[in-house]
């Protein structure tokens, strides 16, 4: 299966470490992927303003990937994964919208007939690579890590169509981390939202929600956080300093992407995993 690699806005403009580590890990495990050329936003951030624009932007990614000969689209962001997956579901009985989208796509010589399968990096790691293969590649077990997973809402919900993991009891991230030697028990706040979606409307409350989540994770005795979504990571990782100031509590805690945990365990160079762009203070935990 040849994957078209889709980065999405947050990863391509801000959370470069997500892109760097995802590329490194997919390459290491021999996943056949190449960038989707000329890619734009998936549509998720503006869905509530103009539904047709969301559908057009999402269809544009599918149309580009189809025209460039890919079999499926690989995503590294929960929001992108949801938009691109939801489009298939929505357009099934929506012939007017399909017509309008194709009218707009025709301006760029594109056409949308059928959607491609959407595979999140979590799905690719869990199903295409598999726990056994990851386990065989581990060179240095990540002992001493007690990591709180944060799946992010859009990778597990809604339940009306297929999502990468279960809405009530997701386990795939934890299963992967445990293969690496990381201790990753569940916790009551596991499914709580990071509030990234309201950061543009009410930053103070958005950071209060994320800050309180990190705070409770610390109180429960975890020494690190694992993310798969760059938007969540901005809240629970890169945004820690500001969130701590907003709620007046110490919420500094190493937060890394799942692919960075895997990379460390299979002995990859820290810089090749983009860890030098991570300012959450991971060094002490990783180097001990």
């Amino acid at each position: 299966m040849k994957y078209g690699f889709f980065t999405g806005c947050t990863t391509q403009t801000d959370t470069y470490e997500n892109e760097i580590s995802a590329r490194a890990i997919l390459k290491h495990f021999g996943i056949d992927f190449q960038d989707i050329d000329d890619q734009s936003c998936c549509g998720t951030p503006i869905k509530s303003t103009k539904y047709e624009m969301w559908a057009f932007l999402s269809a544009r990614v599918h149309a580009l990937a189809i025209a460039q000969g890919f079999d499926a689209i690989a995503t590294v962001c929960n929001g992108c994964d949801l938009a691109l997956s939801e489009l298939m579901h929505e357009l099934e009985h929506h012939s007017d919208l399909r017509k309008k989208i194709n009218e707009a796509l025709a301006e760029e010589g594109l056409h949308f007939d059928f959607p491609l399968p959407i595979r999140n990096i979590l799905t690719i790691l869990y199903e295409d690579v598999g726990l056994e293969k990851i386990k065989k590649n581990v060179k240095k077990k990540l002992t001493g890590f007690k990591t709180a997973c944060h799946y992010g809402c859009h990778i597990i919900r809604p339940t009306s169509f297929q999502r990468p993991d279960d809405a009530e009891n997701p386990t795939k991230m934890q299963e992967i981390l445990e293969v690496l030697g990381v201790e990753s028990p569940s916790y009551p706040e596991l499914l709580d939202c990071c509030a990234a979606t309201i950061i543009g409307v009410d930053a103070e409350n958005a950071l209060t929600v994320s800050g309180e989540k990190i705070h409770i994770i610390k109180q429960r005795g975890y020494n690190s956080i694992a993310n798969v979504c760059p938007f969540c990571h901005k809240q629970l990782g890169a945004g820690q300093d500001v969130a701590g100031r907003v709620i007046g509590k110490d919420v500094k805690l190493p937060a890394m992407f799942l692919s960075q945990y895997i990379g460390l365990a299979i002995g990859m160079d820290e810089e090749k995993l983009g860890l030098h762009l991570n300012l959450t203070g991971w060094e002490e935990l990783v180097h001990k």
Binding site: Y16, I20, S40, S48, F56, E90, A195, I198, L277
Partner: protein
């Protein structure tokens, strides 16, 4: 409390919601409040109550909700949808109602028009930024060896966005500017 004439209700609102998401059925809501009780936005904003938006849609009395701007505080975490015993998908209905507000000329928060403008200019919601490193350097995509991004033929892309109606959202003036 102000009394609202029942005849003043918007009888078409459910059809308008369904025009965007075909399989939505707000009329199935029997106000069990599972959505609101599990809603993270309700904890912060007491006026944000998904079940009220559902009931208002059924009755066709949504004008105040659309004008108030409260819908923009939805986290879109979709918890309400998984909790709903009648599968009514409140988060989708909230998104649809926000769409209806915009189609009536009610401006969204600035962050949203900003993102649409950025998509129109570069294809993404933000400009690529220089990121700090643990050694106090600042690096760009190029420095990190990542391939360039951006739309090749931006004029054609903008024409497509115009057809789809992006400019209509950008043309809405926020209330303060009208005064």
């Amino acid at each position: 409390m102000e009394i609202v004439e029942f005849d003043s209700r918007d009888k078409m609102i459910i059809e308008q919601i369904r025009a965007r998401y075909i399989d939505l059925t707000p009329e199935d809501c029997y106000t069990c409040l599972k959505c609101t009780n599990g809603c993270p936005a309700t904890k912060l904003y007491p006026k944000f109550a998904p079940h009220k938006f559902m009931v208002a849609s059924i009755f066709g009395l949504v004008d105040d909700i659309l004008e108030s701007g409260i819908l923009w505080y939805c986290f879109h975490c979709i918890k309400c949808e998984t909790r709903c015993p009648m599968k009514t998908a409140p988060s989708q209905i909230i998104s649809s109602l926000a769409n209806i507000a915009i189609s009536r000329g009610i401006a969204p928060p600035k962050a949203f028009t900003g993102m649409i403008r950025a998509i129109k200019e570069k294809g993404a919601i933000a400009q690529p930024r220089e990121v700090p490193t643990t050694d106090f350097d600042f690096l760009t995509r190029d420095d990190l060896g990542l391939p360039p991004r951006g739309i090749k033929d931006i004029e054609k892309f903008q024409k497509a966005l115009k057809i789809i109606g992006a400019d209509e959202v950008l043309a809405i003036k926020p209330k303060e500017e009208e005064k």
